[in-house]
C-alpha cells in the first residue's frame, strides 16, 4: 500500500510545501548558511514522515515538537536583518512547520492523559501552542514580506520594547489600572447594584430611575471625559468618574433583571414563612441573581479598561496607558503603542479570568456551571 495514504493530511500538506520550497530555493538570497537550509529540510521531512513509524504518543509528540519549532526558529533568525527578501521557499517552509505543529496539537488533543497533573498540563499546552503560533506566523509574515514596522511591528520587537520599558509600563499600569479602573469599577458596580436594590424596593424609584440610568449609559464617552476633567481635575479621579458612568448601567440592568430570576414557587415558599423583604432578598433573590450580577461584573471589567484608557486622551498628568498611547502615536513610536496594547490585553484578560474563577466558585450550583 502507498505509504503516503497512511499519513495524516497535515503531514501530506507539509511534504507538498517542502517540495514547493525545493523548487523555490534559495530560502533567502544571502541570509542562510547551506547547513541551516539542509537542517530545515531535514527537520520538516522528519516531522512530516514520523507518523509512519507509529511511535508512542509521548515520543511522537517530542519529535513533532522539534520538527515544528526547529525550522521556524532557523527561518526567523535567518530573516531577521533581511526583511522583505523572503521568497516562495521561506513561506512554504514556514507553512510546512506550521502544519507539523498543527499535527502536534491534533496528537495532543487525542492523547489520553494518564494522571491528573498530566491532564492539566495537556489542557494548558494546546492553547499555549495556539497562541505561540499566532505570534510566530505574525513574525514570519511581517519580516518575510517586509511590512514597514510603523504599520505593524513584529511581536519580537514589541517584546523587546516591553522588556526595555518595564518601569514606564509599570507606572502606567499603576496609574490607569490600579487607580482609575479599580476605583471607578468598584464605585460604578456598587452604585449600580445599590440603585438596583433601591429600585426594586421602591416602585416609584424604578419608574423614575430606570429611564435616567438608561440615558446616562447613552452619554458619549468623548463628551463626558472632558467634562469630568473639568469637574475632578487632571489626575485619576476624573478617569474613575468616566469609568463609574460606563459601568453603572450594565450593573443596574443586570441586577434588576436578576432580581426577577427566582421562581414563583421559591418565592411563595418564603411567603409561607412570612419572611420579610430583606430576608427574602438575602436568602433567595440575591443568590438567584448571582449569575446575572457576575455577567455585569465581567462586562464591566472590559468597559472599565476601555473607559479609563480613552478618558486619558482628554487631559491627564504625564503618566497612564491612554496618555502614553496618544503621545507615542504622535511621535511615531508604534512599538511603544503596541507594547501598551499588549499590556492592556494582558491586564484585561487577568481581570476577566479572576472574575470568571470567582463566578465559578459562587454560582457552582447553576446548571451552566455544574454542567447539567
Amino acid at each position: 500500500m502507498n505509504p503516503i495514504a497512511l499519513l495524516p493530511w497535515q503531514s501530506v500538506a507539509a511534504l507538498l510545501a517542502a517540495i514547493v520550497a525545493l523548487a523555490g530555493l534559495p530560502i533567502l538570497p544571502d541570509g542562510m548558511a547551506p547547513a541551516s537550509t539542509a537542517l530545515v529540510f531535514l527537520l520538516v521531512l522528519t516531522g512530516a514522515l514520523v507518523p509512519l513509524l507509529r511511535l508512542p504518543t509521548a515520543t511522537e509528540s517530542f519529535v513533532l515538537f522539534a520538527a515544528a519549532h526547529g525550522p521556524v526558529y532557523l527561518l526567523l533568525s535567518g530573516i531577521t536583518g533581511h526583511e522583505g527578501q523572503a521568497g516562495l521557499a521561506f513561506f512554504a517552509l514556514v507553512a510546512a512547520s506550521w502544519l507539523i505543529a498543527w499535527r502536534l496539537v491534533t496528537v495532543l488533543s487525542l492523547a489520553r492523559p494518564t494522571s491528573r497533573p498530566m491532564g492539566t498540563l495537556l489542557r494548558l499546552v494546546v492553547p499555549t501552542l495556539f497562541g505561540v503560533w499566532l505570534l510566530l506566523l505574525w513574525e514570519a509574515i511581517v519580516r518575510g514580506a517586509g511590512i514597514p514596522f510603523i504599520l505593524l511591528p513584529p511581536p519580537s520587537l514589541i517584546g523587546v520594547r516591553i522588556a526595555n520599558s518595564l518601569p514606564i509600563l509599570a507606572a502606567d499600569v499603576q496609574q490607569t489600572i490600579f487607580k482609575s479602573v479599580f476605583a471607578g469599577y468598584f464605585m460604578g458596580c456598587a452604585a449600580g447594584f445599590s440603585v438596583a436594590i433601591l429600585a426594586d424596593r421602591f416602585v416609584f424609584l424604578r419608574r423614575g430611575l430606570m429611564p435616567i440610568g438608561n440615558m446616562v449609559s447613552a452619554l458619549p464617552i468623548i463628551g463626558v471625559a472632558p467634562i469630568m476633567v473639568m469637574w475632578f481635575g487632571f489626575d485619576w479621579p476624573s478617569k474613575a468618574a468616566v469609568v463609574v458612568i460606563m459601568t453603572f448601567f450594565p450593573m443596574l440592568v443586570n441586577t434588576v433583571a436578576g432580581l426577577t430570576a427566582a421562581g414563583s414557587m421559591e418565592r411563595d415558599l418564603m411567603r409561607t414563612y412570612a419572611a420579610g423583604y430583606w430576608q427574602t432578598l438575602w436568602k433567595l433573590r440575591l443568590p438567584a441573581a448571582a449569575p446575572f450580577i457576575f455577567n455585569a461584573l465581567k462586562i464591566n471589567s472590559t468597559l472599565a479598561l476601555i473607559g479609563a484608557i480613552v478618558a486619558e486622551f482628554f487631559g491627564t498628568p504625564v503618566v497612564g496607558m491612554g496618555f502614553r498611547i496618544s503621545t507615542e502615536v504622535g511621535r511615531m513610536n508604534v512599538d511603544m503603542v503596541w507594547a501598551e496594547i499588549a499590556v492592556a490585553a494582558l491586564a484585561g484578560s487577568i481581570f476577566y479570568g479572576v472574575l470568571a474563577l470567582i463566578e465559578r466558585a459562587v454560582t457552582f450550583w447553576h446548571p451552566s456551571v455544574r454542567g447539567g
Partner: protein
C-alpha cells in the same frame, strides 16, 4: 381549624375568566386528616393556596385557626409542601431544611437538632451535605417534606407530596405520616390523585370536580385511628374507596 363558606375564586386571564373555585363550603376540625381528590384542574392546589394566603378569594369567607389566612400566615401557622420540591440549589439539603428555622430566628444548636431529626424521619439520614441536584426527584420531594416538618406548625398543607415516589417508599411515608399525625395531633390537608392513599390516610375525604372547581362529596371515614397497612384489604376500606370512586365519576358526568 379551617372554615370556608361560599368560597369563590375566579382568575382573570388573557383569554377570559377561569372559575377555579365555586361556592366551596368546608369545615375542617382540629386534628383532622383531610384528603382532597379530584381530576386535574379542579382547584385542589388553588384551595390549598387560599388557605395559605397565597391566593385571594374573590368571594365568600374563610378563616384559618379562627383568623384570616393572612394573619395565620404571619403567625407561621402552617407548613406547606409544594407540588414540586422547590429546594434552593445553592443550599445543601441540611441548609434547605434549616431555611424556615433561620427565618424564624431559631438558635443554631436547635436548628441542627431539628434538621437531623426531620431528615431521619423522611429517611434522608446521611444526605444532609448533598446538594438538591445530586439527589433523585423522590429524595428531593422527601427533603421538601422535611423542610415543612422542621418547624412545628399545627397545620400541614401538602400538595401531592408523594406523587413522584415509587409504591414502596410511598407506603412507608404514608405510614410515617399517619404516625406523625397521630403523635402530634396536627391538622393535615393532603392533595392526592390516589384513591387508596386518600382512604388510607384520611379522616375526611373531599371529592372535587372541575369547571368550575367545586366540592361534590365530603366523606367522613369510619376507619379506626389505628391503621396498619393491611387495613387496605378490609371490606370497610373498600366500601369507602368505592364511594370515593362513585363521587369522582359523578363529577365527571356533569361535563357530558
Amino acid at each position: 381549624m379551617i372554615s370556608a363558606k361560599g368560597l369563590d375564586l375566579t382568575f382573570q386571564t388573557g383569554d377570559g375568566p377561569v372559575h377555579a373555585l365555586s361556592n366551596v363550603d368546608l369545615e375542617i376540625g382540629k386534628g383532622e386528616f383531610v384528603s382532597f381528590i379530584g381530576p386535574s384542574g379542579c382547584g385542589k392546589t388553588t384551595f390549598l393556596r387560599v388557605i395559605a394566603d397565597l391566593e385571594q378569594p374573590t368571594g365568600g369567607a374563610i378563616t384559618v385557626n379562627g383568623m384570616s389566612p393572612q394573619e395565620a400566615r404571619r403567625r407561621r401557622a402552617y407548613g406547606y409542601v409544594f407540588q414540586a420540591a422547590a429546594l434552593y440549589p445553592w443550599r445543601t439539603i441540611e441548609k434547605n431544611v434549616a431555611l424556615p428555622l433561620e427565618i424564624m430566628g431559631i438558635s443554631a444548636a436547635e436548628q441542627r437538632e431539628r434538621v437531623k431529626r426531620t431528615l431521619d424521619l423522611v429517611n434522608l439520614t446521611g444526605f444532609g451535605k448533598k446538594f438538591p441536584w445530586q439527589l433523585s426527584g423522590g429524595m428531593q420531594q422527601r427533603a421538601s417534606i422535611a423542610r415543612a416538618l422542621a418547624f412545628d406548625a399545627d397545620l400541614l398543607l401538602m400538595d401531592e407530596p408523594f406523587g413522584a415516589l415509587d409504591e414502596i417508599v410511598r407506603d412507608h411515608l404514608n405510614e410515617q405520616l399517619l404516625e406523625l399525625w397521630a403523635r402530634t395531633n396536627k391538622t393535615i390537608c393532603f392533595v392526592t390523585h390516589s384513591i387508596p392513599e386518600a382512604v388510607y390516610l384520611s379522616t375526611k375525604i373531599v371529592v372535587m370536580s372541575p369547571r368550575p372547581g367545586r366540592v361534590t362529596d365530603v366523606i367522613n371515614s369510619t376507619l379506626p385511628k389505628e391503621r396498619p397497612l393491611d387495613i387496605r384489604e378490609s371490606t370497610e376500606f373498600l366500601a369507602i374507596a368505592h364511594r370515593v370512586r362513585e363521587g369522582l365519576r359523578a363529577g365527571q358526568s356533569y361535563e357530558d
